[in-house]
């Protein structure tokens, strides 16, 4: 149905008008007073341009991966919590199985020393 696309075109048109308009009005209103730190992409003191072959410790990756694993665990827990009554005992047992598998993994990474920052 082509008419279903009308809201999308409206949306595109609003975006195409609103964004240039805000930028333009902002440019007219704000004081223009540039300096070196203000012109950097990130105004937080980190040098934006650096050697591409710079090294940092591989442990960051391990921590990041472990974070993702337990993050996803929570993502699975939320819908179960919302539908707790509907899923009943089956849902509870299933979630305990899921958590048990994750706990085995947790014990494993703990004992392997992946959590130690040495």
């Amino acid at each position: 149905m082509p008419q279903n696309y009308v809201p999308i075109f409206l949306f595109v048109a609003v975006v195409a008008i609103a964004i240039p308009a805000t930028l333009m009005i902002g440019k007219l209103v704000r004081p223009n007073n540039p300096e070196k730190a203000k012109l950097m992409p990130y105004e937080c003191g980190i040098d934006p341009v650096d050697n591409a072959r710079g090294r940092y410790t591989v442990r960051f990756y391990i921590v990041a991966i472990l974070f993702v694993v337990f993050d996803v665990e929570t993502i699975f827990l939320f819908p179960w919590a919302v539908q707790y009554r509907a899923l009943g005992l089956f849902g509870l047992v299933e979630m305990l199985v899921f958590l048990a598998i994750l706990i085995v993994g947790y014990v494993w990474i703990w004992k392997k020393g992946a959590l130690e920052w040495v």
Binding site: A86, L87, E94, I101, V104, G105, V107, W108
Partner: protein, 517 residues
């Protein structure tokens, strides 16, 4: 909302997978407590797990499957299509046949691995846990009747295999192989998932049976519907990648060469069988209405696969690469079986593929077992030069290797002959004479590169005099594969019946339950 999500049938059907997962987790935990010199117990624990799982498969086969009708497992998902209940799992003879095949391949691979990993100084319990987890994934692939379960099984198997390929952490080749395999595997899984999403869009369901019915309506209304064709091609691309068919084969030689040799053997049989199980399940069950569309594609792919596999194998000097290309060419032969028979009017080709995968498990794992045993502290042992003069050093091993190679080439008294025989028979039954002649010619070409290894073993002098040491586990693996290769060759009837039973072919003189009673 159904009152019960996971019924008793579901429990019985998933018991093999549950047991394997429990043992896999158990191996991970037990490994933490074992001192370094006791790591062999991990292999034994994993083998016990495979044994329990086999018992659970037998329980399904004998207890729940006695009347020969396929069992439908809901796995928390049931829907009613035209008065017929369809679920996520279809436990028929096909699934059970493949379950046994995976368990067999994993058991032989574990027997091959223990000593090899000690030599590599990488003997960790995670290896066995990953093998068990990958078998769970394979079982989902063979019995899955729902796109979601099939895809989860595929990913579980593939991710375990990526890690196994890179298991030799200190070896750059192993790391490179794992990275290539991971990137290409993830890419192909993406294409495959895209195809599945289109199939879902066309049918509104993830169940293969509903998809088949929707495609049937679609195809009879509009045979050239581009969406259905794109869905079929993208799904087929993902599947053909997983079985390493040309033009999606490039990952195979690199991944096979870099992986630990026992893992290469495991990948070339069990992982490949699982990919075949899923390919047959999708092509013959879900995509069956599109058969006139995918047939020309398969003819092209299988001829290209046989050509590239056989010609590229001619010039290889690395044993693992050579066997990788030979396994690509075997995929070409198997695809011919899928071209010839559709599992409804003619079942010979599909039966041939199943027999082929079984004999391939024995003969290829046997060949890889011999290559694995060449590894010593100071020699990688995967070049043809390393196997030279094997007959003067270890005559038994050299003779066994010759048996495996002759069987791979398809010489009659050995098992490999029956795999090819049924494929060619189905081609002739369905009047594909050109394809049959081509396949026979390529089979002759195969003999040359297998016999290059043979002549190096028997005719050339050994490059170094050090004897080959064979561990007890390896002896068992070699014995099992040799007995399988020769045994199926001499007494093929039982195994052919088993393959026929798994497809529900009525056989004269036997009960429907075929091969166990």
């Amino acid at each position: 909302m159904p009152t019960s999500f996971f019924t008793g049938t579901d429990y019985a059907l998933s018991l093999p997978m549950i047991l394997l997962s429990l043992f896999g987790l158990g191996v991970l935990i037990i490994d933490l407590m074992l001192p370094a010199e006791w790591k062999r117990w991990n292999a034994i624990t994993a083998l016990i797990g495979l044994g329990f799982s086999t018992a659970a498969v037998m329980r399904i086969q004998l207890g729940h499957f006695a009347d020969g009708r396929p069992l439908v497992g809901s796995f928390a998902y049931l829907s009613n299509v035209g008065g017929q209940v369809v679920g996520s799992v279809l436990m028929d003879g096909f699934s059970i046949y493949f379950f046994y095949l995976f368990l067999l391949g994993a058991a032989i691979a574990i027997l091959m691995s223990a000593h090899y990993l000690e030599i590599e100084h990488e003997h960790h319990g995670e290896f066995y846990a990953l093998i068990l987890f990958s078998v769970v994934g394979m079982m989902c692939m063979a019995s899955g009747y729902d796109l979601v379960l099939l895809f989860i099984g595929l990913e579980l198997m593939a991710i375990s295999t990526y890690v196994l390929v890179g298991f030799l952490r200190r070896d750059k080749r192993s790391n490179e192989a794992a990275l290539k395999y991971l990137l290409l595997g993830a890419f192909s899984s993406g294409i495959f998932a895209y195809g599945l999403s289109l199939l879902y869009g066309l049918s509104g369901s993830t169940n293969l049976q509903v998809i088949a019915q929707a495609l049937q309506r679609h195809y009879s209304a509009n045979p050239k519907d581009p969406i259905a064709i794109v869905a079929m091609i993208t799904t087929a691309t993902g599947l053909l990648f997983k079985v390493a068919a040309v033009p999606f084969h490039q990952w195979a030689p690199d991944a096979y060469e870099g992986a630990p040799t026992s893992v290469t053997g495991y990948m070339s049989v069990a992982v490949k069988s699982a990919a075949w199980a899923m390919l047959l399940r999708i092509f013959l069950w879900g995509l069956y209405p599109l058969r006139p569309v995918y047939l020309p594609l398969l003819v092209f792919v299988s001829v290209a696969t046989m050509t590239v596999g056989n010609f590229a194998a001619l010039s290889q000097n690395n044993l693992k690469r050579l066997l990788a290309y030979s396994s690509i060419s075997h995929v070409g032969y198997m695809l011919l079986g899928l071209i010839a028979s559709d599992n409804i009017t003619n079942k010979t080709g599909i039966q041939g593929i199943l027999v082929y995968l079984l004999v391939y498990t024995f003969m290829n794992l046997g060949a890889f077992a011999v290559v694995t045993s060449l590894r010593r502290r100071d020699i990688i042992g995967d070049e043809i030069d390393d196997i030279a003069g094997l007959y003067s050093k270890a005559p038994t091993e050299a003779v066994l290797m010759l048996l495996f190679l002759l069987s791979l080439a398809g010489i009659p008294p050995l098992a490999g002959f029956y795999g090819k025989y049924f494929i060619f028979l189905s081609l002739i039954q369905t009047q594909h004479y050109v394809l049959a002649s081509l396949a026979v010619l390529y089979a002759v070409l195969g003999l040359y590169y297998y016999m290059r290894i043979g002549s190096a073993m028997f005719m050339r002098p050994a490059t170094d005099p050090e004897p080959v040491a064979i561990s007890p586990g390896m002896q068992v693996a070699l014995a099992v594969t040799a007995i399988g290769t020769v045994g199926i060759g001499i007494l093929p009837e039982f195994f052919i019946r088993a393959a026929g039973w798994s497809l529900g072919i009525q056989q004269a003189g036997t009960s429907l339950l075929g091969f166990l009673r």
